[in-house]
Structures are given as structure tokens and as C-alpha cells.
């Protein structure tokens, strides 16, 4: 598929170029400025330790890789026609890119391309020190190719509608790690630390058509889009018993396809310098179907069922309308206001066979319906009359109503009937300023207050317990940010920022006889203090230095009723980065980059549960030298050193890596 597409793309663009060449040949006055550059490169990375972790962190594989790091093409074929291209082709790293575009001014363009890169995944699971061994790895090298192919053509004729048609094929193909870990049993203890993976085959075909046109001062635009999404994924969850050296694997196969149509129509106008308005409407519809199989080795039980869902259908219809306006500035004051209404209906249906405990299977019919209506309003203002100062304030309000119905029958008898009317009221307020009180000094500050109130009214709920249990949930977030930038001289600048974030979650629930009295409690609290400093120094015209430091100090507390297996989450992270560039002479440049990050939040909670938090240090050093060998040739050498230590994984994630790379840019 990819190969065929690439051939078609190259053939089409070649025809375009050939046509343009004919035009150029017929026009001797044409002054062509063809610029081509190609950068071949070879890289060798030697890794000791966890190779997969290195690949996941750095995004390249160990061993030899090489190819074309970068290729560019620009040709002003004639006064009105340009050809642009860029490419990248790194073998063994699945890192490819090819994009070409031909543009003729006031006529149109043709462009196409292909990109692909590989996302690597570590194949290590969790860590539990009392076990021997205390962590496990999958035998597979995990990696998933992500990319797209696209082709677009557009007409940009003056005084006529601008029209663009396009096709895109997106894909994700390979194996990725999961956090769905299997159990490991040793003695009488079981911990879920065994790694698992997912075999992913997903693609999306997209057809696009858009048209835009100006009538008087009104700009009209319509975008149509059709998407066909297809997935065929399999995940495996293996559990092992170290006492008996046995293992079992639950596999989940999921197939799903959906077709979706979207159409957006928008119109907007700058009526004059002080009045602007816009109007938009989106209609989208999605129809999906699929099947699913959960295969559990015997003995199956209440949480290890065999499922065979032969028909899964989900449909969605959505309408969104919005209207916006902006006025001003009037004596430095500008206002804007917006209104958006949305109605989205989702219907889901599943016809499944379920084997619980022992055969025979039961037939389950599941149906859900979700009808969401929302209305959002925005109002904001900006004031710029204070010298060198901008003040702004904005408020957003959203009222949402969600009618949810879920029903399930098992062999004809009702096993679930849930009817829930939810109302959501969200408010989001921001105020802030940006000012330059003195030459070379800028100061900014902002404050945000966000509240979301969710109320759940259960019309019916035949199954006690979740999910029909929470009656209300409130999220309150406060954020404050300050930033100071100083430029005491042209060769030095420094910026400081501080950000405070606090989110409280309050949950109300019904009473459960003998277990819970019902009522409201603060179920979660998240606090973050983020400090950042950045500086740039240019001691001399041939030398620059940049430095960066950040401390992210985060903490999350959840209500766990004093269960010792749940502890406060701490996510303190220090990051230091520095770069320098130095012109050794008129032909030679030296660069050095260093980054360091560290977290020390590990808590060995083995006696009560699993270890929590992360203790790691990560160093990355990249040194490079480039030399202009001739007017059109630049050679580069790079050396990289990477070290990662994670005592909280028992050392199983540690790695040390050396990387050497040589490349050469040739311009024609």
C-alpha cells in the first residue's frame, strides 16, 4: 500500500515537474534558482543495560543506522512557479519522510508526502523487591510504526472560490507496551507486575474537500471530511505462578471500523477596524461496528470471563453551532463574546455470548444511549491604554445536560438498568496582565479559577454499587502564574516563571448499608509548584550559552480510608539543560548540549502493596563539530552520551549509551 502510494505520488509530481520543465524550456527568460541539499549520515549507538528503555527514551535504535538525514529542494522554476521538497530516509530506524509541493501563484498547488517513524517501547513490567526475580521483561522488541501518506491539490485562482481536495492515509502498526500488567505469584503473595503488550493494526483513510470564497467583506468557508477508521488489535495479559512455574494468558481481540462524515461551514467578517463577527456550524455523524473476543484460560471466574461479542455497533450524531463577535478597541478597550451550542447523541449496542464460571454460555444484549446537550458562553475584554501594559479578563460558562441510559439483559432477564440525568456547570475565569514597566524589563501575571459541578440524578439503578453511586462531583482548580524577563544588555537575558496549580475534587455518594453513610468528602487534592529559570548569554559574537532550570513539585492525595497500600503521590522532578555554540573560526562551529533530569520520590511499600514513586537520574550529553569544507559542503561529527539510572526499578531499566554520528550536507 505504502509502496504503491509512493510510486503514484512520485509519478504525479514528476508529471507536474515535467510540465513545468516544458514551460521553462519555452520561456528562455526564466531565471531558475534550483537549490538542492542532501545530508547523508551514519550513526552508531552502543548501549549497555536496558536497550529497549534507551530506544523508548531517545527515539533511536542501537547499532548502526544511516541514510539521508535531511534533503531539501527548492526551485523557482519561473516567476510564478515554485517547487519545494524535503525528505529524510534513515534505514533500520523506520524514519522516513518525503514531501513535495508544486505551487503556481494565483493558479494552484499540488502536494503530497509520506512520513513514518517508529515509537519504541520498553518491555519491562513492574518491580517488587521481595520476589525473585523482582521484575520481568517480554522477549519481544516492542515498536510501533506511526505515519501518514497524503495528497492534496488546490485551486487558488483570483476572484474565484479557492478549492482544495485531498486524501490522507494514516497508520499505526506494530507492538506497544501496556500498563495492563499480569499477576506474578510467589508464596502466597500476588502482585501485578508482569509486562504486557498490544499488537496494533490501525489505519484511517481520510478524504477532504474544502472551499473558501470572499463575498464583499464576508469570508465563507466549507470543509467536508470523510474518515474510515479500522482497527484490529490484540492485547495479551499473562500471569505467572513462580511456585509452579506455570503461566496463563488472557487475550483480547478487538476489531472495529467506523465511517465518519464531518462538515463545517463558517463565515466571518471584519466589518471595519473595530467590529468582527463569525458564525460556524459543524455536523458530524459516525457509524461504527466491530466485534470482540476475550479468551480466558480455565478456570474462568467473575473477573475472568470469556466473551464473544459478535456485533458491536456505535453510532454518533452531533451538531455544533457557534456565533462570535469582537468589538474595539474603543479608547484601548476591546470586547469579545461567543456562544456555542452542541447536541450530540450516541447509541451503542452489543450482542454477546458470555461464559461465566462454568458453561453454558449466556446471551447478553447490551444497549446504551447518551444524549448530550450543552451551551457555552464566552465573554472577554482587553485594555491597552495604560502605557506599555495589557490587561485582560475572560469568563467562560458551560451548561451541559447528559441523559444516559444503559441496559443489559442476560438470557432475556434484566441484569442492568441504569438511567441517569447529569447536569454539569463549568465556569472558567482568567485575569492577567503583561507589562514592560522599564526598558528591558517585562512582567506578566495571570490567575485562573475553574469550577465544574457535576450532579447525577438516577432515575433508575437496578445494580447496587458503581457506577450509579456517585451523586455529585465538583472540581475546583486555581492557577496563578508570574513571569519576569530581564534583558539588562543585548548580550544577556534571563526569565523567571513561577506557577501554582491546585485542584480539589469533592465527591458525594449515596449511602451503602453498613459500609458507607453517604455524603460528601474531599476525595482528591492535587498541588503543583513549578519554578523555571531560563538564561541566554552571548559573551561574544562567536559564542552563545543558554541555561535552563526547572523544578516541578507536584503532590496528589486521594481518599483511601487509611489503606496503607495507597500513599500520597509525589512527582517532584528537577530538570537542568544547557546548550552552547561557538564559532571556532570562519568555517568551524562547536556545539554542546547537556540535559539532566532527576526525581527522588521512591517509596518501597512492598509490605503493604507495590513500590510507589520513581527514583531516577538521567543524563544526556551531545557534542558536535561542524566544518564548512567548501562553499557547498558542510561536514559534521557528533558524539552523544546517555546514562539512565532508576534504582526504583531494581536497576532493570538502567542503561548507558554512547552514540557517534557523522553527516555531510552537500548543496547543489
Amino acid at each position: 500500500m505504502k509502496r504503491i502510494f509512493l510510486r503514484m505520488l512520485l509519478a504525479t509530481l514528476s508529471m507536474g515537474v515535467a510540465g513545468l520543465e516544458t514551460t521553462r524550456a519555452a520561456d528562455p527568460a526564466t531565471n531558475s534558482t534550483l537549490e538542492v541539499s542532501v545530508t547523508p549520515e551514519a550513526t552508531f549507538a552502543k548501549v549497555s543495560g536496558n536497550t529497549q528503555k534507551f530506544r523508548e527514551d531517545v527515539g533511536i535504535r542501537d547499532g548502526w543506522t544511516g541514510g539521508i538525514e535531511d534533503a531539501t529542494l527548492h526551485d523557482d522554476i519561473s516567476k510564478d512557479i515554485t517547487l519545494d521538497g524535503e525528505g529524510r530516509f534513515i534505514l533500520d530506524d523506520h524514519d522516513y519522510k518525503l514531501q513535495l509541493q508544486i505551487t503556481k501563484k494565483d493558479v494552484g498547488f499540488v502536494r503530497g508526502g509520506f512520513t513514518e517513524y517508529r515509537e519504541y517501547y520498553d518491555n519491562t513490567g513492574g518491580f517488587f523487591r521481595p520476589f525473585t526475580p523482582s521484575s520481568f521483561k517480554l522477549n519481544d522488541d516492542l515498536g510501533m510504526d506511526v505515519g501518514n501518506m497524503f495528497f492534496e491539490a488546490g485551486l487558488t485562482l483570483p476572484n474565484l472560490p479557492k478549492v482544495t481536495v485531498g486524501y490522507e492515509h494514516q497508520f499505526r502498526d506494530g507492538d506497544k507496551s501496556l500498563l495492563e500488567w499480569g499477576g506474578v505469584t510467589q508464596g502466597t503473595d500476588t502482585r501485578k507486575i508482569y509486562p504486557s503488550s498490544k499488537d496494533v493494526h490501525e489505519y484511517t483513510d481520510i478524504l477532504k474537500l474544502s472551499a473558501e470564497y470572499d463575498i464583499s467583506k464576508v469570508h465563507l468557508r466549507d470543509d467536508f471530511r470523510y474518515e474510515h477508521f479500522s482497527m484490529n488489535d490484540t492485547r495479551a495479559d499473562t500471569s505467572v505462578d513462580l511456585n509452579t512455574s506455570s503461566s496463563q494468558t488472557i487475550t483480547v481481540h478487538e476489531n472495529n471500523d467506523h465511517d465518519a462524515f464531518y462538515n463545517t461551514f463558517r463565515m466571518d467578517s471584519h466589518v471595519n477596524d473595530k467590529v468582527y463577527w463569525s458564525l460556524g456550524y459543524l455536523y458530524s455523524t459516525l457509524s461504527g461496528n466491530g466485534d470482540m473476543q476475550v479468551v480466558t484460560p480455565p478456570p474462568v471466574g467473575p473477573f475472568g470471563n470469556n466473551w464473544a461479542a459478535s456485533a458491536i455497533n456505535v453510532d454518533l450524531d452531533s451538531h455544533v453551532v457557534n456565533l462570535n463577535s469582537m468589538f474595539g478597541p474603543f479608547k484601548g478597550l476591546s470586547f469579545y463574546a461567543g456562544l456555542q451550542a452542541e447536541k450530540t447523541d450516541t447509541h451503542g449496542f452489543t450482542d454477546a455470548l458470555l461464559t461465566q464460571g462454568v458453561s453454558p454460555s449466556t446471551t447478553n444484549l447490551i444497549h446504551s444511549a447518551n444524549d448530550t446537550k450543552s451551551l457555552s458562553e464566552t465573554f472577554g475584554m482587553r485594555y491597552t491604554k495604560i502605557p506599555y501594559t495589557t490587561l485582560y479578563a475572560e469568563g467562560q460558562w458551560q451548561e451541559e445536560q447528559i441523559d444516559l441510559d444503559e441496559e443489559e439483559t442476560q438470557d432475556g432477564a434484566s441484569s442492568l438498568a441504569l438511567g441517569n440525568d447529569a447536569t454539569v456547570f463549568r465556569r472558567d475565569y482568567r485575569v492577567g496582565f503583561n507589562t514592560a514597566p522599564l526598558p528591558r524589563v517585562t512582567l506578566a501575571g495571570s490567575y485562573r479559577h475553574y469550577v465544574a459541578n457535576n450532579d447525577y440524578d438516577y432515575e433508575r439503578d437496578t445494580v447496587p454499587g458503581y457506577p450509579g453511586f456517585i451523586t455529585a462531583q465538583d472540581f475546583t482548580t486555581d492557577e496563578a502564574m508570574g513571569k519576569l524577563t530581564l534583558r539588562p544588555c543585548s548580550r544577556f537575558s534571563v526569565a523567571f516563571t513561577y506557577q501554582l496549580v491546585s485542584t480539589d475534587t469533592r465527591t458525594s455518594s449515596e449511602a451503602v448499608p453498613l459500609l458507607a453513610p453517604g455524603g460528601s468528602l474531599e476525595s482528591g487534592n492535587y498541588d503543583a509548584n513549578i519554578y523555571s529559570v531560563s538564561a541566554t548569554i552571548t559573551p561574544m559574537s562567536r559564542w552563545y550559552l543558554t541555561g535552563y532550570f526547572s523544578l516541578q513539585d507536584t503532590r496528589t492525595v486521594a481518599f483511601a480510608n487509611h489503606d496503607p497500600s495507597v500513599q500520597t503521590y509525589r512527582g517532584d522532578v528537577y530538570t537542568i539543560m544547557g546548550t552552547t555554540g561557538y564559532a571556532l573560526d570562519n568555517k568551524t562551529d562547536l556545539t554542546l548540549e547537556y540535559s539532566y533530569s532527576r526525581s527522588d520520590n521512591f517509596s518501597d511499600n512492598s509490605s503493604a502493596g507495590l513500590p510507589l514513586g520513581l527514583d531516577f537520574q538521567r543524563h544526556a550529553l551531545l557534542a558536535g563539530v561542524s566544518r564548512k569544507i567548501s562553499k557547498n559542503v558542510i561536514a559534521r561529527l557528533r558524539y552523544g552520551f546517555y546514562e539512565y539510572n532508576e534504582p526504583s526499578s531494581g536497576g532493570s531499566n538502567n542503561y548507558t549509551a554512547h552514540l557517534a554520528s557523522a553527516s555531510c550536507t552537500v548543496r547543489f
Binding site: 513492574g126 503461566s247 470482540m292 461567543g338 491597552t384 501594559t389 495589557t390 460528601s520 559574537s541 520513581l614
Partner: protein
């Protein structure tokens, strides 16, 4: 099945100190040698990205000569509200050039794209203001922005309007930006997870995190901060969710990674998001 060692990292502090000392000495020595031997006259200027050697600020009016639409719409963008008004050197670099760098060489060359900063190609321009995002993209688990496989504009529209307005196909629907790539997670399910109503960022730190899958928390706190109920005193030490005692399961692992509630983005067959 492949097993790994359970030995903890045995790096001794003395060894680390000596290595750091040797590295510092090496870097210092190389730097001194480079400065000492580079006596040649250099008439080039090197500047930290995203600055452009030799370029000066020209102001938005100059940009408007070619980029009329962008300049006209700038007042509608999120970035407009932080633009400092005024004239003179105190506010040079405001507006277009705060992200695209000084534009004089670009203007003088008739629009050479190599002589202007394109934040789509490199995030350095965005990091000048969004300092914390620079750190997050450097953590172990991050979207590949610094690697050049994505850009800030893959998810954010810096020229987008500050007010609610349809942008291409995205008319303000929650999670729509993430769904451009993560369709499997964002697709509608027979049983939804209500957390998706608040958005993907309820659970994911989308720029980067020290936690796998860019989770905001890697343990049970992620779920329990919402899924909670007041407990009777006699149940202290036990976590009941509804009527079900989850205590022994929480000991074994995290709600979503212990093989129980694995369908965290929604399920087509189970109302408790088990598959």
C-alpha cells in the same frame, strides 16, 4: 519469559563524584584549549536559537505588507492578549516577531523562508515563553516534539481565534485535538468513562511526564481521587467502592494496570470497564 536481576543499582557515591569531577575537568580543559587555539578572526555571528544572526525587528506593519490576513486576524488570537502595546525599543519584538524572530533579513530577501523562524519546524520559539513545557518535553515519556516528529502546532493553533470559532474540522469538541491521532482511545464506546467528559488531560500530562503513558499519577491516586465514598469507621484500612471491597486488589496493583479495569477509555461490553 525473560527474567531480570533483582539487584539494586550499586553505584557508589565516591565513584559518581570521581566521574563527575573527571567530566568537569575534561569539559573545562577542552573549552580552554578551544578558546586558546581559536585566535583566528571570526567575522560570523552565532546566536542561540531562535534568534537570527544579523536580523533586526521591523514591526507588524511591515509584516502586513505580505501577510495581511495573519496580521489582521492577530487581534483575535490568544497571543494578542499578551502583546504589550506601545512604540519604541521597549516593545520591539512584540506581535509576529515574538514567535517568528526579527524579520529584517526575511523582508530584505523578498521573503526567504530560511531567514525567518518557523515554530512549526522547531519548538524553541515557543519555549521562550512556555518554559515549563521545555522541561516536560525532556522527560522520559513525552510527545516527540523535540525529535521533530510533531510540532506545537500539531495540537495548538497559534493563529487561532481567541473566541469560540470553528477551526477547520474542530468546532470546540472536547478531546478532538487528541482524536486526530488517538482515534482508538477517543472513539465512542457502548460504555463511556465519564472522565473523558472532562478531557484527556484529566489523566494525562500531554506534554511529558515521568510516568509511562504520560499519566499525571502512576498509581491508585489517579483513580481514587474521583472514585471515593465516605467510609464507616469500622471499615478503616479498607477501600470499598460501592459495595465491593477493593482492598486486596489495591495491594496487588493499580486499578487500570492490575488486569481489572483495563478499558479505561471506555468499554463495548462491560459497564465496569473491565475489558
Amino acid at each position: 519469559m525473560k527474567e531480570t536481576s533483582n539487584s539494586m543499582s550499586q553505584d557508589k557515591p565516591q565513584g559518581r563524584f570521581l566521574r563527575a569531577k573527571a567530566l568537569t575537568g575534561l569539559i573545562g580543559g577542552v573549552a580552554t584549549a578551544i578558546i586558546a587555539i581559536s585566535c583566528a578572526t571570526v567575522d560570523r555571528v552565532v546566536l542561540a536559537p531562535p534568534m537570527i544572526p544579523g536580523a533586526k525587528y521591523v514591526g507588524m506593519d511591515t509584516c502586513a505588507a505580505c501577510h495581511e490576513k495573519e496580521v489582521k486576524n492577530f487581534k483575535l488570537t490568544q497571543h494578542a492578549r499578551i502583546q504589550i502595546p506601545g512604540e519604541g525599543p521597549r516593545v520591539e519584538g512584540e506581535g509576529c516577531e515574538s514567535c517568528h524572530g526579527p524579520g529584517s533579513l526575511h523582508v530584505d530577501s523578498g521573503g526567504d523562508r530560511k531567514l525567518i523562524v518557523n515554530p512549526r519546524k522547531s519548538p524553541e520559539a515557543c519555549f521562550q515563553c512556555h518554559l515549563d513545557k521545555n522541561a516536560e518535553f525532556s522527560l522520559q515519556f513525552h510527545h516527540p516534539v523535540k525529535e521533530g516528529r510533531m510540532s506545537c502546532t500539531s495540537c495548538h493553533d497559534p493563529h487561532g481565534e481567541d473566541i469560540l470559532k470553528p477551526k477547520e474540522m474542530q468546532v470546540g469538541r472536547v478531546n478532538q485535538d487528541c482524536a486526530q491521532c488517538h482515534r482508538e482511545q477517543a472513539r465512542p464506546h457502548v460504555f463511556e468513562h465519564e472522565a473523558m467528559r472532562e478531557g484527556c488531560t484529566s489523566c494525562h500530562n500531554v506534554h511529558g511526564s515521568i510516568n509511562s503513558k504520560m499519566l499525571t499519577e502512576r498509581d491508585n491516586n489517579l483513580c481514587l481521587k474521583c472514585h471515593a465514598q465516605i467510609a464507616m469507621p469500622k471499615t478503616a484500612g479498607q477501600v470499598f467502592i460501592g459495595t465491593f471491597d477493593h482492598t486486596p486488589f489495591l495491594q496487588q496493583g493499580t486499578c487500570f494496570s492490575a488486569g481489572c479495569h483495563t478499558a479505561v477509555h471506555g468499554s463495548d461490553i462491560n459497564s465496569h470497564l473491565r475489558y
